[in-house]
Amino acid sequence: MKSVLSVQGLNKRFGAVVAADALTLDIPAGQKVSLIGANGAGKTTFVNMVTGYLKPDTGSIALDGLDIGGRSPRKVAQLGISRSFQIPQLFVELTAAENLTVAVSGAGAKPLSFRSPAQAPEIHDKAVELLGRFGLADLAERPISELAGGVRKLVDIAMALVRRPKLLLLDEPTSGVSAEEKFATMDRVIHAVSPDAATIVFVEHDMDIVSRYADRVIAFYQGRILADGEPSHVLNDKEVRLYVTGGAK
């Protein structure tokens, strides 16, 4: 199968801390991959490097065979990698619909126009449709600052979908969501995301979610890949149980 993302020997240090240690992995099209690991294991650093926010010290990153190492988040986004954030990165004083409107108008082939979005039904419709998919149609006209944390996470993910990315990275999509609602939220996310993004990498701490939604699990520990493979295989790995899941499950 063709790799969407191909990463070779990625290294990154912050002073004495090794955040990425010779990371090498391939993600084929259509796979749903979960990244697990304790806080500080290097999951978010990996996401930050792949999206161009951090520059790796050494190593290469390729998207569909194209080297994207050293490109800015903007270029990477244009080339087809989108992400959501652990702390939602939204325009808090704008409404949910306006947030999506910025994303939709910015994703067009033409530069931003001086036309009012109110007069561009295709943009507005797309924004509302995306919110609707996440069950947020009722909240479209509310400013983000009035919305709860869980809702913000969904808006954040909706924004990442606008460009129909080749690869979608979700950084802890269910963090801040109560244990009872986790499955419902994740169901909704996977369902809403599928028309626009087939290849998904998500960072997750809840092992039940991981085993239910991931085709493949990559366990991080101190910047290295501890295990990589089928969920049942990785989650039962001795080292993973010792260093990552703490033997709790």
Binding site: N48, Y53, L54, F85, Q86, I87, D171
Partner: protein, 298 residues
């Protein structure tokens, strides 16, 4: 050879008082995260109070040495009081607002202080020259210098050392440093940030005013002084990195030397040269020479 020596000595003299002003500005920024436009007004306040003190001392026929000491003491007292009043009475009301809003607040304070000094001391230049003769004249490598100018260099170094020592070797200083580096953490450790703010702002005001007092005997004190000084000290702290003590020292040296060099080589380009240095630094180090670039956690 003498020519270069002249530039270096003149540059050091310039740098010495500029450093004291910039130190205050950078300290206030480090702790309160406020770039205080009114800092220049506090400098001017120091100069005006110094002139009044010196003139009063001279009128009582006190020796210039006594006048000099009286000048420093009165400036220190008044500046600390004004600093405390400004921070507790006014700035406090705006904490938590955007950094640009705080910049505007200090701009408003600048405007108010500017006219307040005019109301108190008038618009005509005043002088405080008596202490300038205090240390006589010196011949140095074939050049003549006013002793007072040269004395500024060790005084400035001593003040710089005192601040460094205070920050790094005393408990109070360590608390201040903790607030500079991570305010949230300090609060959770039980640091009373309000007190640190008041203390830091008063110290900043004190430094500005002392620099004003020390330069008062060299200059004519008139409206517009505050504006000139704030423009220079901004350049210094931007070069050095906002909030960095070492940065203020290096920035002051660079600006002092650049200024002295341009005065001797190309007097038309004085201000231009300073901002050229600043622009040059910013192109390569957008956060200034002594500051780590902070990335946002996402």
């Amino acid at each position: 050879m003498n020519f270069f020596l002249t530039i270096i000595v003149d540059g050091l003299i310039q740098a010495s008082w500029l450093f004291i002003v910039a130190l205050g500005l950078t300290l206030v920024f480090g702790v309160l995260k406020i770039l205080n436009i009114a800092h220049g007004s506090l400098y001017a306040l120091g100069a005006y109070v110094a002139a009044t003190a010196v003139t009063m001392a001279a009128a009582r026929s006190l020796p210039p040495g006594v006048g000099f000491v009286a000048m420093l003491i009165s400036v220190a007292l008044i500046a600390s009081a004004v600093g405390l009043l400004l921070e507790r009475g006014l700035l406090k009301m705006f904490y938590g607002r955007d950094e640009v809003v705080l910049l505007l607040v200090t701009y408003a304070v600048f405007l108010v202080l500017e006219d307040a000094t005019k109301l108190i001391w008038g618009v005509n230049p005043i002088y405080a020259t008596q202490p300038y003769e205090l240390f006589g004249n010196l011949e140095f490598a074939g050049l003549y210098y006013v002793g007072y100018d040269l004395v500024l260099i060790p005084i400035s170094a001593a003040i710089g050392f005192a601040i460094w020592f205070g920050l790094n070797r005393t408990i109070t200083g360590k608390i201040v440093l903790a607030v500079i580096h991570n305010e949230e953490m300090s609060v959770s450790m039980g640091v009373r940030v309000n007190r640190v703010y008041a203390f830091a702002f008063a110290t900043g005001a004190l430094l500005a005013a002392i620099a004003g007092a020390l330069t008062a005997p060299k200059i004519s004190i008139q409206p517009g002084l505050s504006s000139d000084v704030i423009i220079l000290s901004f350049a210094i702290v931007v070069i050095g990195g906002l909030g960095s003590v070492e940065g203020a020292a290096v920035g002051a040296l660079l600006v002092g030397l650049a200024r002295a060099a341009s005065v001797h080589l190309m007097p038309q380009a004085e201000l231009f040269v300073i901002y050229l240095v600043m622009a040059g630094v910013l192109v390569f180090r957008p956060e200034g020479l002594f500051k780590r670039e902070m990335a946002r956690r996402i």
